[in-house]
Structure formats: C-alpha cells, structure tokens
Amino acid sequence: MSDDLIRALASALPKGRVLTRTSELLCYAYDATASEARRVPDVVVLPASTDEVARVVRIARGAGAPVYPRGAGTSLSGGAIPAQGGIVLSTTRMDAVLELDAENHCAIVQPGVVIQRLNDLAAAHGLMYPPDPGSVAVATMGGSIAECAGGLRGLKYGVTKHYVTGLEVVLADGQIVRLGGKATKNVTGYDLVGLFVGSEGTLGVITEATVRLVPAPEARATMTATFAQSSAATRTVAAIVAGNVVPATLELLDATTLRFVEEYAHAGLPTDAAALLLIEVDGPPEAVAREAAFVERVCLGHGGVVERAADDEARERLWAARRAAYPALARQSRGTIVEDATVPRSRIPEMLAAIEEIARRHDLTIATMGHAGDGNLHPTVLVDPDDAELMERAHAAIAEIFRAAIDLGGTLSGEHGIGSAKAPYLGWALGEGGLDLTRRIKAALDPQNILNPGKFTA
C-alpha cells in the first residue's frame, strides 16, 4: 500500500515536496512532548496551497491512510506525532500573510505563518495578536489554532479561540469549506469555526484563518513581588482580581522553580522566597498608573517584596526570571514533562498544595510555574526518558495531578490540548456523555478516521 500511496502523492505534488528518505521521515516522528514515543511516518508532504492539501487528503482517503497535520511541531500533548504511520502533512510551505486589514482589525493568514511574524506585521499598525504561547517565535498559526494555544496574556486577553473569526478547512473527504469571515459578530448557524479551533487536526486541515487583532496597549507597568509563603502569593492574586483589576500578565513561580532559575540565571532572586509573582498591567497611561499603584499596594499589604520596573530595561530584567524558568528547568534534567492542569482561580492554593504533596509522595522534583491569574498552572516534572522506573513514577504523579485538578472543579488542559498524552484521562473531564458526543462528532466528520488518528478521539 505504502509504495502506491507515495507514487500517488508524488504525482499530485510538485517535485521535491514528497519526502520519503529515512533521514527525513525520522525528523517528523516527534513533537515537543517529552512523554510521548517517536513514531515514524511513511511519508511527509509539503503542500503549498489549499488545493494541494485537498489533493493529499483525497489520496489519503482513497488509500485509507492516516493524515497528520503539522505546523512547527511544538505541540506539548503529542498532537503532531504520527501515531499510526501514514502521511505527515507539513504546512510550513503555506506561510503567506494574505491580508492585514488594519481598518477592520483583522488579518488573513495561511496556516504556516509563524505567530511572531503576524505580530511583527501587526505592530506596524499599532495592533497586536494577543495569543502568545511560549513557542510564539516558532509556532505556526495553523498549529496554534488547531491546539487553541494560550499564553501569558490569557487572563486579560483570552486564548486563541477568542480571536479566530474565519477558517478555510479541508475536510476528511477532501472538500474545501470556508467558515465565518471578517465579521466579528456572527451567529449564522452553528459555531462551525469554533468546532475546528482546538480540534487538534482530528476534524479537518486548517488551510486559512481570519483572526482578530486588537490595538496594542499604549502603556504598561511591570513589577515582581516575592513572598515568604506561597499562600501569601495566592491570596495576593485573589485580592488583585477581587479589586476588579485585570492584569495582562499574572505569573507565579514556585520555590522550586525560583531556586533553579537563580542557579541558572543568577538574576539576584531571593532563594528563600516561597513564590514570586510577575505582574504586568497595560492600557491607557492613566489607567495603568492607577492599576499599578493598586497592585503594588495589594502586594505590599500581603507581605510581598515589590520591585517595580522604571523603564524598558528594568522591565526586561524582571521578565528575565520568567523567561529563564523553562531553560532553567530544562537544564536540570534530561527531560521535562510540562503539564497544564487548570483550576478555577480561587482553588489555586489547594492545587499547589496537592502538587507538592504528590511530588513528595512519588519522590519527584516538580517545579510549578504558571498563569496564576487564570488558574492555568504548569507543574513541570523533571524526568529522564531513559529511566523507566522514574518515568513510571512521573506518569503516576501526573495522573494524580489531573485527578486533583478535576476534583477542584478544574480541567486537564488549559492550553496544551489532549493529544495522545492526556487521552487516557479524557473521560474524567468529559464524562461518558461528553466522550460519546466527541466520538459522534468525529464519526460524522471523519467516518474513516484518517485525520490525526490515535489521539483523544480514539
């Protein structure tokens, strides 16, 4: 089957856009998920147009071959891994910004456009595209829409699904459908755009997207606050939000993360602190001044030691601690499993305590940082993929973390998606009814199960 499939693909696409060498296929066997095993595809295709994507999907349908859409391969739940062989469909050649409509505050992009590039173009018009996952410099629009990526600004600006107003999608039968458009209000029929945002490539291949842009804030104020007790930090978060101030960024680094960051970056952080908050408010200058003063008062009132950035250079210095968090953890071990269990904001103290208890019981190092403002934590388990016993403990701990999040009224994933890594736990979050509905939607749109099979819809 495989040879016929490759021949058909080679005749459907221009020369050089069908990769079949072992050395090429091995490079599409993974994404950024440390816990998931490599799976080598049979072939990689590099379509450059919607029409070429449709041709690939039709050939795949005829052959019953799986199709795995892939952007930059930075997904963190196994979404881009070709779990059952078949075709990896890379969108990196479809990377045109088709239109930047400053008047309507929107842009039309192909799926391979890197998020940061859209932001750079938008900045020239005083606009921005708010979703900013950690991988913003490399992740693609197609991939981040398929995974409904979040980021550091989620508290105030929301996540990817709040910005997608139109999509062009190639369905499992090779049909091309165009959904939504530039209109920001649109209740015409089902929310079909919403159906595909976060669908993780299981329902169709996104070939074009219309996204909202927003005016970039005129001003911002940045500060860090360190606390001797993590409960003081989480109470501070609650008090800030209770005061009806919504910071753009409200990040928490726990004691373990802080210790590693200080070892790595020598940023002058207090190593005896139990938690650090990085807080940024943005908006019109008067509002920023008022909100920053309020936030500072709240931090001080809860015993925080506050450092406020006087200028851009100082802002960079404060952000450096947060930016160093992942590199610092990555250098501590041979692998890191970054989870993103999410709870309602008010339950963060309990969630942090649960994570600490689970780490202790399984004798693991789990460093937690995260978007405290929106309850989206990133407990990061330091692992060694070659140490089977350690990996087993890590997986047991992760399952308990998910259980704890759900028991606290939260969910499995705030922004990384389910993919294959969290698929075993999906029922905990959705229940039988939710699982059944998911499977019925999948069966209706992809009856042959050729789109990203082996993931959460399996």
Binding site: T22, S23, L26, Y30, S90, A137, V138, P327
Partner: protein, 425 residues
C-alpha cells in the same frame, strides 16, 4: 523503535550521547536557523539533526551517505546553540556525526585527494601557486568588481563569483622592528589570508606594528584544520593540530593573533579538545588557547589602541562573523575600532550576527542554499545605505562580495583591519 543494529561501532558519536539526550525537542532553534529559514523542513534544523544523531545511536539510522547528506546542511553558525533552552552543543553533535560517517565509510576520493594535500603545507602551497598561475584559463572576470566566474560554468560552482587567488601569497618576512620593547605577537595567517586575501595579512601587520608590536609569523602557512573537521576528517584535522603545535614549539611570543575567527577558535576551542587525550600536546594546546586572540579583540582589549589619525569619510555597516560573535563572544571590539576612525559612521544592519551562508566549503557543496541565505544578508546590507561593508573574517568577506555581486551591488567589502590600516597611512 527497535534497534536494527547494536551501536557498538559508534565510538565518535557515543562520546556525545549525553549531549544528544538533553534536547527537549522544543523546536526553539527553528526561529534562528538560517538553513531552516530557506528549506522549512525539519531535517534542516538543529532539532532534526540532533534527533537524527539519536537515531544513529539507537541504530535506527545507518551511518551512510544519506546520513552524511543530512548532516551536511549546517553552516555551524551556532545560532541554535545560543537559542537553545537546554544548552545542547549542536555544532559538536553535527561534527561528531560527520566524523562518524567518515570513520565508518572513509572519505570520498575527491576529498581524500584534496585533504591529503591540505594536510601537507608544502603541497598546499605548491597547489595554490600553480592554481594562481592557471586560474585565468578557467575563470573570467565578473562584471563589476574584483571577482571571477568560471569560463565554462558547470556543476556546483556555476553561479558563484570568486576572488582570484593571490599571485603572491601572504608571507610575512619576520619581525621588522627589532627593538624588543613591545609585546611579541605571532600572527597566524590561515589559508584564506595567505592565498586569497594577502591584503588582510599586510593590514594586520601594519596595524599591529603601528601599535608597537613585534610581529612574527609561523614557519609554514599551514591550514588550521577546520575545513577537514567540517567534512568529518577528524584524523586529518588532528594531524594538522599537532603540526601547528609542533611548528610553534620553541617560538617566543606573548600572544597568538589571527584575522580569521575560525582559525582563532581552532586555537581557543578546537585544539584543546582534539588533543585532550595526548600527553605530548594537551598542556601546550591549553597554553596556546590562553594566549590566542582575534585581532580586533587583541587591539582593543589588550593593546587598548587609540584611534588612527587620518579621516575616512564613510558610512560603514558591520557583519558579525558567526565564529567571532558566538564562537568567541567578540562583537563590541570591531565596532569600537570602526567608530574610532575619524569620519566613519556605523550604520547597523538588521540581525548583524545572522549567518551570511558562506561557511567555507558549504558555499560550494550547497550553492543554492548558500546563495539564498546570503541573499537575505545582501538585502539587509543594502537597507543600511552604507557605502562600505566591514567584517572580521576572510570567509565572510568572500561570501558577502559574492552575494552582493549577485544583485549587481558594487559596495566594497573589507576586513575591519584593512579600514584601520588605511586610516593610519
């Protein structure tokens, strides 16, 4: 994946097995890799190459020509290492993979013949001198600058424009000033300066002597070995490392200085590593590493030279060579030298330390890729409006001259020390 073959014959790569496993596959390297920017396929980028190295170690990828081809598409610009959150030594891994292929399969015959010559300094000199005499038969002048193109374009080199080989290779006659009061510097010329750009060598001598330095040269203008190591010829590169240490033994100098950052990083980084296990050489390699400098760094950091006297009215833009900026951490010093020249205005280009795509023989082996990477640099240079392009590497100079000529851009490209020398005359 199951191991198809027990990896018991992979000594070169096993030494880097730990380095391979620390890659988290986060993909951050995609943002900075000049090769990936052109190919946008995963085998082009560091993450892909590190995973291929893992596949070789696990027995899933045979050590063959295909593997060699996969690891050849890297300019070793080190931008990925700078961006890597986990600190993966990507260039070392790529070098080990290339060496492993040569170890397992031997060198292709062309490389065997060429590298055999490069390993013998006298053969190299004889070949270069013969080629300099014969080059008019093979090359014709390119339109607008001192470059040449093949008369009968074919194969790999068809589109490229080359500077001619020097009719008189750079050869410093020995110390001119015998006063012995100033520091004594061994100027290591390297192949590019010796055979292609002797002017950079003469300018280096001029600025060093003007600063009161006694300049001496090594007995033989031998290759530093990087071109061999880049093709996986570890044995040849190590032999040249020993040759260099042997020929410098007994010479007295306070510092070793080169105008080619790749040569300098050989002394600073490569030789101590290549010779670490050899009792006869290890300590000497360490001693040399401690006194080896890029010429701009030596002039600024050690000699603290003052500005030259003559004015040079020119807007200059500066390209940071990869092996100088990231390899040796030298970016401030050449700029200080340039802006110290009365009348020189520095107009920075976008991403000045982005790889120019030259990367030695990469520019021949991957001509189209090299020109595409270089074309971005040419665009960034043109956008500065500068009249002169300065850089601190003869290899970058050659590539920049070529890629500018591809667009009919006749801006001169010079080494930093050439401007400095001119401003002192």
């Amino acid at each position: 994946m199951s191991a198809a073959r027990p990896p018991d014959d992979l000594a070169v790569m096993r030494a880097l097995a730990d380095a391979v496993t620390i890659c988290n596959r986060c993909g951050a390297c995609q943002a900075v890799c000049p090769v990936y920017a052109e190919t946008r396929i995963e085998p082009g980028v560091a993450r892909g190459k590190v995973q291929l190295a893992a596949a070789i170690l696990s027995g899933d990828l045979p050590v063959d020509r295909e593997a060699a081809a996969a690891f050849s598409t890297c300019t070793t610009c080190m931008a990925c290492e700078e961006a890597c959150p986990s600190g993966v030594p990507v260039v070392d891994i790529v070098a080990a993979a290339r060496a492993q292929v040569v170890e397992a399969r031997g060198l292709p015959w062309v490389k065997r013949v060429v590298f055999g010559g490069v390993r013998r300094p006298r053969v190299l000199r004889a070949a270069a001198e013969a080629a300099a005499r014969l080059q008019d038969a093979a090359f014709k002048p390119a339109s607008d600058r001192d470059l040449r193109r093949l008369r009968f374009p074919h194969g790999l080199a068809a589109r490229r424009a080359y500077p001619p080989l020097a009719a008189h290779p750079f050869a410093h006659p020995g110390p001119l000033r015998k006063a012995g009061t100033g520091p004594r510097v061994l100027l290591f010329p390297g192949c590019m300066v010796t055979y292609v750009y002797p002017g950079i060598g003469h300018a280096s001598v001029e600025v060093l002597e003007r600063a009161g330095v006694d300049v001496v040269a090594p007995p033989e203008a031998a290759c530093c070995g990087v071109p061999l190591e880049a093709h996986g010829d570890l044995a040849g590169a190590t032999e040249l490392a020993r040759f260099q240490l042997d020929q410098l033994e007994g010479l007295e100098f306070d510092a070793l200085v080169a105008a080619c950052p790749t040569c300098t990083s050989s002394f600073v980084h490569r030789y101590p590593r290549l010779l670490a296990g050899e009792p006869r050489y290890a300590a000497r390699a360490q001693r040399l590493a401690a006194c080896a400098y890029d010429i701009t760094s030596y002039l600024v950091d050690v000699l603290c030279v003052g500005p030259p006297t003559r004015r040079l009215e020119a807007t200059v833009t500066y390209h940071d060579p990869c092996h100088l900026a990231r390899g040796l951490g030298v970016t401030r010093q050449p700029r200080e030298l340039l802006t110290g020249i009365p009348g020189v205005r520095l107009s920075e280009m976008r991403e000045p330390s982005r790889c120019c795509g030259g990367a030695g023989s990469f520019s021949l082996a991957h001509q189209e890729l090299s020109l595409a990477i270089g074309a971005r640099k040419a665009t960034d240079i043109a956008a500065t409006g500068a009249e002169v392009v300065a850089t601190s590497c003869p290899g970058c100079r050659m590539q920049l001259a070529d890629v500018l000529s591809q667009t009919g851009d006749s801006r001169p490209v010079v080494h930093t020390v050439e401007l400095l020398a001119a401003a002192g005359r």
